[in-house]
């Protein structure tokens, strides 16, 4: 424990800027993955353990597209759209068959998909780690703001993630499709009875969830190593975010992801040897005081 360092950091503008921006970037990338997870759970009550695979494949799609076209924009689009389509296929052909069955069957399907696609990645891209490399446009020195260091690339990622959060929030709150999704989360039978095509709706939810995870994988590809099985650690943290934020709440997962990023970022200064424990500790406190999570609804 190094409280002096933490106090020193909080009272220095440079350290505050660096740590806050790094906490934001860690948190917002996590939010993109967790948002899909929580959306799928909210509407379908399916805990999608294969969500890490979406993230991994998104990164690999982006890598191949980047190598082929040399355009990071195309790479990100490929990761996002590709995984959106993959999400639809996954929903239609696999997980939809297990709706309403017990959770173990869903778990089994998801785990099978994780194992199969880890091996597919090994066959297609190889078992060794891969690295995309920073696109030339972002190979620039970082900004120094008030003595703190802020990388331009991360500013772009933060911007994209915040824009996604905004679009998602507005779409759910104010559009017809969003209202249907929220209605389906509360009472799917009634939505179906009203003549709304829930099959299409569920596929759409998986498309958005898959697309978001793929987007996160693609956005992070220039700085993170790509390995088969890379989705696993991201999945664990995303679950922590969804649990803290409240299963099914997009706003909750945004707040929880940013909180997690900040705990990591400032925790590493003040409590370098037990940052992970801080995160789990925080989760325990939330679960004891608010068992449904920060923004979770009471289950009726």
């Amino acid at each position: 424990m190094d409280l002096n360092a933490l106090a020193g950091c909080v009272s220095s503008s440079g350290c505050l800027v660096t740590q806050t921006s790094s906490g934001l970037i860690v948190g917002l990338l996590l939010f993109l993955v967790a948002a899909g997870l929580t959306l799928i759970f909210g509407v379908l009550k399916v805990v999608n353990f294969a969500h890490g695979t979406f993230y991994m494949l998104g990164a690999y799609f982006a890598l191949s597209t980047y190598q082929f076209t040399g355009s990071y924009l195309a790479a990100v689009a490929a990761g996002c759209v590709g995984m959106g389509l993959f999400g639809i296929a996954f929903e239609r052909f696999l997980i939809s068959r297990a709706y309403g069955t017990n959770v173990l069957m869903q778990l089994l399907i998801c785990y099978a998909v994780v194992l199969i696609f880890d091996d597919v990645v090994k066959m297609v891209w190889g078992a060794d780690f891969q690295s995309m490399g920073m696109p030339p446009a972002f190979q620039v020195p970082p900004y120094f703001i008030a003595g703190g260091i802020v990388p331009p690339f991360y500013l772009v990622l933060i911007g994209v993630a915040l824009a996604v959060a905004l679009v998602l929030g507005v779409a759910l709150a104010a559009t017809r499709a969003g209202k249907i999704v929220r209605a389906a989360a509360v009472n799917p039978e009634m939505v179906s009875v009203l003549g709304i095509n829930t099959t299409l709706l569920y596929a759409l939810v998986f498309a958005v969830g898959g697309g978001l995870a793929g987007l996160a994988g693609a956005l992070a590809a220039p700085v993170r190593s790509l390995t088969p099985g890379m989705g696993f650690s991201v999945l664990i943290e995303s679950f922590i975010v969804t649990v803290i934020g409240g299963m099914g709440s997009i706003a909750g997962s945004l707040i929880a992801a940013i909180l997690l990023g900040m705990i990591r970022s400032f925790g590493t200064i003040g409590f370098p040897l037990f940052t992970d424990e801080l995160i789990f500790g925080f989760m325990i406190v939330v679960l004891i005081t608010r068992p449904t999570g920060l923004f979770g609804r009471e289950v009726v």
């Binding site: 860690v26 690295s131 190593s225 390995t227």
Partner: protein
């Protein structure tokens, strides 16, 4: 030459097994014209690249020996098996290679966990074995673990730490650096080896202070918290043992923060082609140990060997490749000295044997009495973003290495 991948039971294996049960093959084998050399390595999984590069080097070297007449007149037949990096599987395969496949010599290309398991099989069977990948010093340094017929043709952790410690201290003195931080993976290798390097760095430069330790988890996707912590601690240098994908993530994410313009990184693990080719933006002005480079030692023979390997397999050789090639060269020399391709006699011929080698610091490598090699090229240099990636390489002094290694052995009760 035949290679056999996979470990499925085949008719031939069964037949050989049955023959083994009758306990007659040893007599029959001695009259055979070929000598079977068994090799097990990690040919599938995350570090399959290293195992494959070992196998390639073995094939290339054995073809050369065979073209020159073979091992004391007997052609070598290489039998390769995949252990998938699992120690119990490595031990099982080693036993099977000898007992069922009739191999008289083993080339063990396993990481340390597998090598220690194979060592016990070798002790039991009394077969000649050369370990070509394990770097854990105690495998040959500890007399309790040493085996009369087992040798090591690979760099050793303690030797790397001595050279790395000396080099780091020298650079730190030249650049007036005393404030160090560490950033190594959070498990036994990372923690133990970091301590070993720091001990030697402090031996050469006692005023080094370690002001921050960062221990990222193995395979963690994001190093931002580690990087920003290093930035806040304001060290002058970072000593790191990160490797492979973690090293690549750390370097890429560190570049985003311009970390390596603020601190000098010392990392022994960068100087191997798979890493150099994968890291897209090698930082300028960091320091790394050389594991294998065609430019070190900077001799025509080394360059020729590297180019031949690349032409043949369409990929770069690795640290495991030169070590395997050296092991085959030692087998050849030992058979010549012993006058027969006989494992027992070759094992007696090996200690003290010196061979010409493209990988020796002065063109020669010696198998020491403690069953491990000396005088191989070991050195550190500056990193640059473009090939040859590491320049101004300073070779370690083997006189000093031997002296400090002996001291280290005494301290650990090995001599």
């Amino acid at each position: 030459m035949r290679t056999m991948d996979g470990s499925g039971l085949r008719r031939r294996t069964l037949l050989a097994g049955a023959a083994g049960a009758l306990a007659v093959p040893r007599i029959g084998r001695a009259q055979q014209n070929t000598v079977k050399v068994g090799m097990q390595s990690i040919i599938s999984g995350a570090i399959a690249l290293l195992g494959t590069s070992s196998r390639n080097a073995a094939q290339m070297a054995i073809e050369q020996v065979n073209a020159a007449g073979g091992l004391a007149g007997r052609k070598i037949e290489l039998v390769v098996r995949d252990s998938k990096g699992q120690p119990q599987e490595a031990a099982r395969i080693a036993r099977e290679l000898v007992n069922s496949d009739g191999c008289e010599i083993l080339l063990d290309a396993e990481a340390s966990s597998g090598a220690f398991a194979v060592q016990e099989v070798v002790r039991d069977l009394g077969v000649l074995c050369i370990h070509t990948a394990s770097e854990t010093s105690s495998l040959t340094a500890d007399p309790k673990i040493r085996v009369a017929t087992a040798f090591r043709c690979a760099r050793q952790g303690v030797q790397d730490a001595i050279v790395g410690g000396g080099y780091t201290a020298k650079q730190a003195t030249a650049r007036k650096m005393t404030r160090f931080a560490t950033c190594s993976p959070d498990y036994a290798y990372g923690r133990d080896t970091t301590k070993q390097y720091l001990d030697f760095i402090k031996h050469f430069k006692p005023d080094i202070q370690v002001i921050a330790e960062v221990w990222p988890k193995l395979g963690q996707p994001d190093f931002t918290d580690a990087i920003t912590r290093l930035i806040q601690a304001k060290p002058q240098a970072v000593f790191s043992l990160l490797y492979a994908g973690d090293l690549s993530s750390f370097v890429n994410q560190g570049n985003v923060y311009a970390l390596f313009t603020q601190v000098a990184m010392f990392n022994p693990n960068m100087g191997d082609y798979p890493v150099l080719n994968a890291i897209k933006a090698m930082p300028q002005g960091s320091y790394s140990g050389v594991r294998y480079l065609e430019t070190f030692p900077d001799t025509p023979r080394n360059k020729e060997w590297g180019e031949a390997y690349r032409k043949r397999f369409n990929e770069y050789p690795t640290n495991w490749s030169w070590q395997m090639a050296t092991a085959v060269a030692f087998l050849d020399a030992a058979a010549k000295k012993a006058g027969a391709a006989d494992g027992k006699k070759m094992a007696q011929a090996l200690p003290g044997l010196t061979i010409d080698s493209p990988f020796g610091v002065n063109g020669k490598i010696t198998m020491r009495e403690d069953h491990s090699i000396a005088d191989y090229a070991i050195g550190w240099g500056n990193t640059v973003p473009k090939p040859p990636y590491i320049v101004d390489i300073q070779p370690g002094d083997w006189g000093e290495i031997t002296e400090l290694e002996t001291e280290w052995k005494k301290k650990n009760g090995y001599v």
